[in-house]
Amino acid sequence: MTAEYDVEFVEREDRDARFLVRGVTPAFANGIRRAMVADVPTMAIDTVRFVENSSVMFDEQLALRLGLVPLTTPPEGEFVEDDTVTLSIDVEGPATAYSGDLVSSDDLVQPADDNVPIIELKDGQRLEAEADAVLERGKNHAKHQGGVAVGYRHLQRVSVVDDLPEFEEQESQIVRGVIEDDGELVPTSEFDHDLSNRYPGKQVEVEDVPNAFVFRVETDGSFTVEELVTRAVDSIEARATELEDAVQL
């Protein structure tokens, strides 16, 4: 049985995208979504050695904050689980320590954003620490989630059935997501999510298109959306291959 899929991008940026997939079963769509959230490994700081911490916060609190800083994750195959990358930070007050102050020992593993505040340091306070980042999966800790907002909705087909009766006032009809109008894909944000804006004086019918899902994927900057989706699919494929091999024995 070979499946036929059709993918079309609706909106697209590095970290944020919306794409339509046709011909996908709900089970498979959900498998991909779950894999994106929990099964694609990303780098994050896991161990911190403090050299000096005279800030107002405890070491543990800062360690958690450092862990939550998204780090760029190297291409597949460059790292395996259990490999570590060391990052160091040294900031003296009065100043705010930002994620951009982290100095990495590896070019491939850098803070994804430079403007994540870690702590505000007053005069005479200092933060100096060394941290080890590891590759782990979102299943183990939320800091390893590559996909931060991942979901899907049915594609909705809108068709005009009739004109509205002459003296009837049109009620607003809110839909969210992406609609299909005569084969054209329109994000609902274009008409303020209200069908009465797009079809004034018309009676419309909305129906879910079977097996057509619009995915909305946002990453934390560890990698691009494309990378996240392909790695999620890879992880499902790896498990299918493993099962096939295990059954054959």
């Binding site: 079963t25 894999a35 494309e226 392909t230 299918a240 096939e244 295990a246 059954v247």
Partner: protein, 94 residues
Amino acid sequence: MELRVTESTENELSIEIAGEDHTFMNVLKGTLLEHDDITAATYDVNPEQSGGQTEPILTIKTVEGVDPLEALEEAAADVRGKTTAFRDAFEAAA
């Protein structure tokens, strides 16, 4: 992924698939049900805190003359086919 057969007759198979969760099991179950010679496919998984059986158990029933284990192997190959097709379609659009 460790497999352990918990029950096995000619047309019915219960198998524990250790280390998996809904992510893969539901995809697998959905794929199994697409086959005409599989009459029933389901999986059961308990939360980690429940103690007892926490690994998913997959149960497959097939029509007369079809080995459930072979059906499972076929379904695993189907999942692989789906992921390959999905990746190709995605990369073509990207």
